[in-house]
Amino acid sequence: MNLIIDIASYICFFIGAFALITGSLGILRLPDVYSRIHAAGIIDTAAVGFIILGMMLQSGFSLTSAKLALIVLFLFFTSPISGHAVAMMANKFGIKPEAKEIKPKNKNAGDLNG
């Protein structure tokens, strides 16, 4: 039974570490603020959720698990608020998203829709 809990915990750690690396690379590589907020959301939900779930499996049914659940609950409410505040202020200061305009490949493609 102990071995099964250890294996489940390690799987949670692996998924969480993968999400952590994915979110950090996204913040490092994505082009503008609005897409980086998306990468920050990956860190705040998937990475924190899975790594703390792994730690809760390790600590069992105890007070430490309740505190870890409290951290997840707090981040569940505060992460969208801070991300929304950053996006709102960036929009208010006039930062445009770097979206490319999608063009049809040949000229006649646009004529079908008028």
Binding site: S24, R36, I43, I52, S59, K67, I71, I81, S82, M89
Partner: protein, 88 residues
Amino acid sequence: MFALVLLVCAICIVMLTVRAAKGPTAFDRILAVNCIGTVIILGISLHGFALGRPEFVDISILYAVLNFLGTLAILRFYRNSDVSDEDL
């Protein structure tokens, strides 16, 4: 295993610090520092588990609160710095 996840946290903090150092706008820096705080919450908890002292989770809760309030305080500072706004 805890040490391995701590190593991943350290690598991610390095990548986020690069973005916080060279971010083109101030909002990139705020976002990167907020994420560094989130990764440090994980790091404190994992450090406590790796040493066999899970009481470090209390410090982690406190750091989560301070991280959120710090981000909102810096954004509020930017909001008040705009003179032309009317609904301050």
